[in-house]
């Protein structure tokens, strides 16, 4: 075999290998693209349902007659709400008038990482409901903020407002405020109380924009 033949066969081998790799890649691409199209609609639908179920938890059905997911306002990150990404505020309407706003708040000072909250505030400034969307608090200790584990979040926040509770009472009892906590986990409720308080203040300060802004496109 001459040197030229050898280098030609190496080239041929390399090309054949590349062709095979390309073939497998194309095959995988076709498979993934078709699966993506097959599941796109069901995924969007189940995400929508999951979101609606969450919104329904914080807001009684009697408070709205509109499609919550269609009426939202975009909130930029970095504001008083503590969100790190764009979030949506959903508006509940009864016969056209805004009856409540649902905001997503982030408590950055949980015991282990962010606690994400869903806060529903009636147009008059009282809390309709608060739920934990996501948290990484210690199972069995800090997780009583989750409705799946205890009623703490309902007992402490339903019906609360800035008018009812002065600013310096928005603390857990241990710190001289009026909110309950369970022994062994104070950092978690402290973060939640602080986040709900700042959400109410945000609503108070931005009331007009939230109620009047045109609905964002999803």
């Amino acid at each position: 075999m001459t040197e030229r033949d050898a280098s030609e066969s190496i080239t041929r081998h390399a090309l054949a290998t590349a062709a095979i790799m390309t073939g497998f890649s194309l095959l995988a691409t076709v498979m993934l693209v078709s699966m993506h199209f097959a599941t796109r609609a069901p995924i969007a639908e189940s995400e929508r349902e999951a979101k609606l179920r969450l919104l329904e938890q914080v807001l009684p059905h009697s408070l709205y007659d509109n499609d919550l997911l269609q009426d939202s306002v975009r909130i930029a990150p970095g504001g008083e709400l503590g969100n790190r990404d764009h979030t949506l505020a959903y508006r509940a309407r009864l016969e056209g008038a805004v009856s409540a706003v649902i905001l997503e708040a982030t408590a950055p000072d949980g015991y282990s990482g962010d606690i994400r909250l869903l806060v529903a505030i009636r147009a008059d400034g009282t809390l309709a409901g608060v739920r934990v969307l996501a948290h990484k608090e210690t199972p069995g200790l800090g997780d009583y903020i989750d409705i799946a584990h205890s009623d703490w979040i309902r007992q402490n926040f339903d019906g609360q407002s800035l008018a009812k509770t002065p600013d310096d009472a928005w603390k857990v009892k241990k710190d001289g405020g009026q909110f309950d906590y369970m022994a062994g986990a104070t950092i978690t409720p402290r973060a939640v109380v602080k986040a709900v308080h700042k959400t109410l203040k945000y609503f108070d300060a931005h009331r007009q924009e939230l109620l009047a802004a045109p609905a964002a496109k999803e």
Partner: protein, 227 residues
């Protein structure tokens, strides 16, 4: 190299069990097994991926040059895992939310690539598919036992969260084994996973040595080659 179907089944479920003998893929094994439902779900998803990837690799094994075989195998595994991930997201949304990142991470579970490379690359399609399925089921059984152990000791229940997999109507299947149990946090936290797995390995070794009728000599240590 060719094994009988019986040997393949025995190896996957017992002799070469990925969970307690080969100790491959410990990352999901330890992380997800806080309840039976989580363990079984991830176990079955992994078994499905293993059967499918072995079955997909075996028929094309002769067309894949040795130099690029790992790349092709990983490509096939990753595509299959993505398909299963999308499917679960579409049709088992709540369960998908619970298992979260661990479904895509099946790609990096070395037991999958290990079986493709060690078995499917050298055997015909049918035995390869069986090998993947049995190895996967062997892992699923370990995940189920470990999940059951941790859930029972940690929370005093079994099958909690089954409504995530089968819909809200399944909530009635949750078994409260120890009513008024205040829970034992250690079992649910990561150390509980290590302790539980160690107990399972010990139990298997004890059963093996008892069956062999020999005084409890230590069985050959498993080869640990995890990521």
């Amino acid at each position: 190299m060719s094994q009988s179907y019986r040997e393949i089944i025995e190896n996957g479920l017992w002799k070469q069990n990925p969970g307690v003998v080969q100790l491959l893929g410990l990352c999901p094994t330890l992380a997800v097994t806080s309840t039976v439902v989580n363990g079984v779900s991830l176990g079955l998803a992994t078994a499905l991926v293993m059967a499918a990837s072995n079955a997909a690799v075996a028929p094309v094994r002769k067309f894949v040059p040795a130099e690029i075989r790992i790349a092709v195998f990983i490509l096939i595994i990753a595509a299959l895992v993505t398909v299963i991930d999308l499917g679960m997201h579409a049709w088992f949304h709540a369960l998908h939310a619970t298992l979260g990142i661990f479904i895509p991470l099946i790609v990096t579970n070395c037991i999958v690539l290990a079986r493709v490379e060690a078995f499917a690359a050298k055997n015909a399609t049918a035995p390869s598919a069986l090998d993947g399925l049995m190895m996967g089921l062997g892992l699923a059984i370990v995940l189920a036992l470990l999940g059951g152990l941790r859930e029972l000791v940690g929370k005093g229940t079994l099958l909690s969260g089954i409504d995530l997999a089968l819909g809200p109507a399944a909530k009635q299947y949750v078994i409260t084994v120890l009513p008024d149990y205040h829970g034992f946090l250690l079992a649910v936290l990561p150390p509980g996973a290590f302790i539980g797995l160690a107990l399972l390995i010990a139990a298997k070794n004890w059963l093996d040595s008892r069956r062999a009728g020999s005084p409890a000599t230590s069985p050959a240590a498993a080869v640990v080659q995890d990521h």
